[in-house]
Symmetry: C2
Amino acid sequence: MQCDCGASVEAVDAAHAEHVAKTLKALADPNRLRILALVSSSESGEACVCDLTGPLGLSQPTVSHHMRILREAGIVESDRRGKWVHFRIAAEAPAEVGAVLDRLAVGV
Amino acid sequence: MQCDCGASVEAVDAAHAEHVAKTLKALADPNRLRILALVSSSESGEACVCDLTGPLGLSQPTVSHHMRILREAGIVESDRRGKWVHFRIAAEAPAEVGAVLDRLAVGV
DNA sequence: CAGATGTATCGATGGATGTCAATATGTAGA
DNA sequence: TCTACATATTGACATCCATCGATACATCTG
C-alpha cells in the first residue's frame, strides 16, 4: 500500500456487495437475458415455460431452472393459472433490471 | 407452445444477449464490485493493485486477475506511471456500470 | 379414475470461475 | 548492473453452473 490514491478500507460492506452480486449473477447469462426479453416483449407481458423452450432451443428442465433463478432473485414473479405458470417481470424488480432491459431492447 | 402469450421467436439476437451477458458477468462478483467501489470512491478516482489487496483481503495475483477481467470488459481503464498501474472507471464504460455503482453507493 | 399436458425436481456431467503459490516481467534507484 | 518493489502470468485446485435425461408433481379432461 504505497500508492497515495486515498482508497478507503471500507468503501462497501462485503455483505452488501454479495447481495448486489447475487442479482447480477442472475442476470449474467445470455439465455436468461433472452428469456427476459421474450417475456417483456410479449403481447401480454407474460410467458410460460412451454413458450420459451422453442425460441431458446433449450430443454424444458433447463428453462424451468432459469425461471427459478430469476424468481429467487426477485426479477420475475410467477402465477399459476391452470396447467400453465405465467411469468412476468416483477413489479419490484431490482433497479438494474430496467437498465439491462433497455440496453437489450435498444440493441447497443 | 400452447399458451397464447404472443412471445416472438426472435425478441433478442443471441449474439447481442451474449455480449450484454459478458459485461454483467464481469460485474457479478462481490470482490469486483468492492474493487469498483474502492476505485470510484478514492480521492483521486484511481487505485493500484497494491492499494486493494489489503482492504479486500485477497492476494496480489487474485486482484490482478480481477482487474484484467474488468479491463477486458471495458469497465475500467489502466495507466502505468512508474512502478504503479493506476486503474479508474473507464470513460466509455457500459451503461449498466453507472446504475450498479449508484446502487452500491446508496446501499440499497 | 385414467390419460394427457405443463411444470418442477433429481442426478450426472462437462465446462467455467475464483483463488493462491510460484514465477516471470517491468520499473526505479543505488 | 544489481536490488527492491509493483504488477502480470502460469499452473493447480476446488467449487460453482448450465445443461440434459429421467422422473415426480400438478392440473385439466374424458
